[in-house]
């Protein structure tokens, strides 16, 4: 059979895999990501799954999706409306169809459109038969369940197991469409199911079935080519923010020779860090699953008191529970790293969705004057550098540091130029030495530059002293309630955090050095803002993007940067928390763009808002 296939070159494509929680959409998305990375595309991903572990099969609540945006140029976001939607069942179609671009490609597993599934999804008539889709999209109805059943004929596996390989069938179709090699996925299957040759066989057959279907079926007339992106030279891998943070912790441990104790309590989406680090005991990383959130940070602080670096991680409600212990770390001037993986709030909120709404909680959310440095990674890969820096600063300044990450960063992935740890800042811990002088040890004596006290750990001769949550006299560390001392200590603790500005490099400006509009972002809003500014610059507008990683203290050059533009726009996934800080710090009349939809900001909205401000 011969068929005419047109080859079309595209700059970038966004694909969304959607199906039931049990349909393996995260897996298909992950394999497509890996293959595209190896093919040399730049990419960004957004997994999206329900909070319920096993929502009823076929229900709207049980739909899970994975979006990948890949491109021949540098990209910063997982894309908005997909160009291609893979819908494995009626519920997935119902939930995601609205966002598919008009004229977009829709690939549907026709076999899943049974009466029962249609009813569960609330369809009165079958959209794959009533023609309601055909005029609006380029639709491909594929009988994937049947294809895999035929392909796996003769394999000694129950039909249920064979049915489960249909995600690989869908993947095969897409690999054909985007001209991707199958080998990386086949290699992966061999590794993953080493002891289950039948499963390897079934999935291999399913993958080929999908690929061959694309190759032979007359319905596909176009293949698409997305060329390699011109990334900086070097060795790459894909990375998500959770793994990047863990690697940052391990790098901190190795460069400082400090032991790490990581203590946490299971919570979505921060648990991944506990899982990953628990596999690295051979590097001297101790992990502790605590009885609750408070115990998690308490164990971490106790470890820091003992001379290890204590680290904890959690998300919104868990961070709320940890705040009192953060205050104790501030008071006792001990190093501690708190990784806050923001999710939709308040309360339990949207556990599996992303948000930037815990900024004020991180910067201010404690009793008393309780300053804590806060660093917010800007991309999944940046979680490595931000976490390393948090560990280094915590020890150098003897302070707790918050890494303000979020659900999008920890779950999202991107190609990552593998860093060389030797290039990172040196990391030195100042342990107080034995005191044999016969003079009384002074636990709150300070370094004149940083104002940090030395780390005086139990087990060291002559350093016996008492610390605690009560106010301390400067230098001696004795309990002290005198008005003058308290006032001085409040200022010392604030100045110590302020001194960290000496560690912050110049803020990178992307775009015009002066102009009509500065788009200022913090943390994970980076990607959407960068994409918006790229587009606006192409349209010759006088705009720039400044991306802030340290949110407390703020970069020392920020005031000057803000003064170079007529207007300042701050897009963020909250109702304007960073804007509040910027307005109060710099008296700048910044404008906000605030979308709180449980997902990264829409670059299109930023572009619209920017134009509106420029044209005002």
């Amino acid at each position: 059979m011969s068929k005419k296939v047109k080859l079309e070159t595209l700059d970038d494509v966004t694909i969304r895999f959607a199906g039931d929680s049990g349909d393996g959409m995260q897996l298909s998305g992950g394999r497509f990501t890996q293959t595209s990375a190896i093919a040399g595309n730049d990419l960004s991903t957004l997994p999206d799954f329900p909070a319920e572990i096993r929502a009823p099969a076929g229900s709207l609540a049980g739909v899970s999706s994975f979006q990948i945006h890949f491109s021949s140029h540098e990209i910063h976001t997982p894309g908005e409306e997909p160009d291609v939607l893979v819908a494995m069942n009626p519920a997935a179609l119902k939930v995601h169809l609205e966002e598919l671009v008009p004229g977009g490609i829709l690939i549907v597993n026709k076999n899943a459109f049974t009466k029962k599934n249609l009813k569960l999804a609330g369809y009165e008539s079958n959209p794959t038969e009533d023609g309601s889709l055909d005029d609006y999209y380029s639709v491909h109805y594929i009988e994937m369940s049947k294809l895999v059943a035929n392909a796996c004929e003769g394999l000694d596996l129950p039909p249920k197991i064979i049915e489960r390989t249909k995600n690989f069938c869908a993947l095969g179709v897409l690999f054909w469409m985007y001209d991707r090699p199958l080998e990386p996925t086949l290699d992966w299957l061999k590794k993953k199911f080493k002891s289950k040759p039948l499963i390897i066989d079934a999935n291999t057959r399913a993958l080929h079935a999908g690929y061959n279907y694309g190759d032979t079926a007359e319905i596909f007339t176009t293949r698409y080519v997305v060329k390699k992106a011109s990334l900086a030279p070097g060795k790459y891998r894909t990375i998500n923010g959770a793994l990047a943070s863990c690697l940052g912790i391990l790098t901190a441990s190795q460069k400082s020779n400090l032991n790490i104790t990581f203590a946490g309590y299971p919570i979505t989406p921060a648990s991944t860090l506990l899982h990953t680090l628990s596999n690295w005991k051979n590097f001297g990383i101790k992990t502790f699953q605590a009885e609750d959130e408070i115990a998690g940070i308490g164990v971490a602080l106790g470890a820091s008191y003992g001379g290890s670096l204590g680290i904890t991680a959690s998300s919104g409600p868990g961070i709320a529970l940890k705040t009192e212990m953060m205050g104790l770390a501030v008071m006792t001037e001990l190093p501690l790293v708190i990784i806050s993986v923001q999710r939709g709030g308040p309360s339990t909120g949207l556990p599996t969705k992303t948000e930037q709404s815990d900024l004020l909680q991180a910067v201010y959310g404690r009793n008393g004057e309780s300053p804590i440095p806060v660093i917010a990674p800007t991309t999944p890969g940046d979680c490595y550098f931000a976490t390393y820096e948090a560990c280094r600063i915590a020890v150098k300044y003897m302070v707790p540091v918050i890494v303000l990450s979020d659900g999008y960063l920890v779950n999202g992935s991107e190609p990552w130029l593998i860093p060389n740890p030797d290039d990172l800042n040196d990391f030195i811990a100042n342990f107080e030495k034995e005191n044999t002088s016969g003079e009384k040890f002074l636990p709150y004596k300070r370094d004149t530059n940083t104002l940090a006290r030395n780390w005086a750990i139990p087990g060291t001769k002559g350093l016996e002293h008492r610390i605690g949550g009560l106010e301390k006299q400067n230098i001696t560390g004795n309990v002290n309630y005198e008005p003058g001392n308290h006032h001085e200590m409040v200022q010392i603790r604030a100045q110590k955090v302020q001194n960290i500005v000496n560690e912050i490099g110049p803020t990178a400006i992307y775009g015009k050095k002066t102009g009509d509009l500065l788009i200022l972002s913090w943390g994970s809003a980076h990607g959407s803002c960068r994409l918006a500014v790229e587009t606006l610059l192409e349209e010759k507008l006088k705009v720039a993007h400044a991306s802030v990683q340290w949110v407390n203290p703020l970069p020392p050059d920020l005031k000057n940067i803000l003064s170079k533009y007529k207007k300042v726009l701050i897009p963020e996934v909250n109702t304007g928390q960073f804007r509040k800080i910027i307005r109060s710090e710099f008296l700048v009349d910044a404008v906000g763009l605030n979308e709180v939809r449980g997902k990264p900001l829409s670059p299109a909205s930023i572009i619209d808002k920017a134009k509106e401000l420029i044209n005002e």
């Binding site: 391990l250 308490g298 008191y305 593998i418």
Partner: protein, 337 residues
């Protein structure tokens, strides 16, 4: 100071003025602790006292060792982190009935089941002292306090029973006025490898005076206090004339004389959890005397010991990546030229 110089009580006394109310039972506990520690260790830099919040939790300030006065109820968490990060240390948690059993109850029970090698001294005065006299989780029902003018409604915790229920391996009880006994219990707790728990009845002479006077007054204590010792019969009474007798499966208080001899009296076995459970039920029981001593002492694997083992075992596994470079370069990688 040479390595093995004998320390004295003064070496364990800090220069901070002690600020408990005059007549407080805490003074006796502090003094006995300072007295007994020279017998426990020659390296005071390895000793750490960690407390929560409350009157008892001021304790670390007065010990010239390392000390950490932490957060209400949270001392077990910080102590656990400290001990797993540095297993060489001798870690002591000081807590009270409010701190340890109310706000910190969750941490305390989990500490017990983990069996981290550290020690807990719980000062039980059955009242909130530092916040000026509210009823506590060990106050008897009907307690009239500032927050319960018509009497408290909650049924109290029985601490040793709770702690045994949480799978503790060492459970002891003593009284602030029993100076030698208190020292002995501290030594026993120190010897135990795992989490050791000592409940100390402590009189708050301001807000709950005489809470334990039946156990400390000469006239009553002989008949109401049972000193238990491993391998010895459970005998009490003014002339050692009473004992605990097992009537089938039920304990009974009997008179030693015509019907029962000393040989009929139940012999304490601190390794027997059933006896420990039974003794814990004697607390605040009208029929039985109040037991003091080591209720239960049985070694089992410690969390910190198991953790060290895992850390070593992880080195031997073939599959684990060996270097940071391996991890950074794990998975599929590709070169961009």
């Amino acid at each position: 100071m040479s390595e093995n110089q004998i320390l004295t009580k003064d070496d364990f006394s800090s220069d901070q003025a002690v600020r408990w109310c005059p007549g407080c039972g805490d003074y006796a506990i502090l003094s006995q602790t300072q007295k007994v520690f020279p017998e426990i260790t020659t390296k005071k830099e390895d000793v750490v006292f960690i407390s929560g919040i409350g009157c008892s939790s001021r304790f670390p300030y007065y010990m010239d060792t390392f000390g950490f006065h932490t957060i209400h109820g949270r001392a077990p968490t910080i102590a656990s982190g400290l001990k797993i990060s540095n297993p060489e240390l001798s870690v002591w948690i000081i807590t009270g009935d409010g701190d340890g059993l109310s706000i910190g109850g969750n941490h305390l029970i989990h500490l017990m089941r983990r069996n981290i090698d550290l020690n807990v001294m719980l000062f039980n005065n059955r009242i909130y002292g530092l916040t000026k006299g509210q009823y506590s989780p060990t106050s008897e029902r009907g307690k009239i306090t500032y927050s319960t003018p018509m009497g408290s409604l909650d049924h109290p915790f029985n601490p040793t029973k709770l702690i045994l229920g949480a799978e503790a391996g060492f459970v002891a009880k003593t009284i602030d006025r029993e100076l030698k006994h208190l020292q002995e219990m501290i030594k026993r707790a120190n010897d135990y490898n795992g989490t050791s728990f000592i409940e100390i009845y402590q009189n708050c002479n301001i807000f709950n005076d005489h809470a334990f006077s039946n156990l400390t007054d000469k006239e009553t204590k002989a008949d109401q206090l049972l000193r238990i010792e491993h391998g010895k019969p459970m005998i009490f009474g003014a002339n050692d004339n009473k004992g605990i007798y097992m009537d089938d499966t039920t304990p009974k208080v009997v008179k030693i004389g015509k019907k029962y001899s000393v040989d009929d009296i139940l012999v304490h076995n601190e390794k027997d959890e059933f006896i420990a459970d039974m003794l814990s039920n004697f607390t605040s029981n009208d029929v039985f005397p109040e037991p003091i001593g080591v209720l239960y002492c049985k070694e089992r694997a410690t969390y910190d010991g198991l953790m060290e083992q895992q850390m070593q075992d992880a080195q031997k596994k073939d599959k684990t990546p060996k270097t940071l470079h391996d991890l950074l370069n794990a998975g599929d990688t590709w070169e961009v030229k």
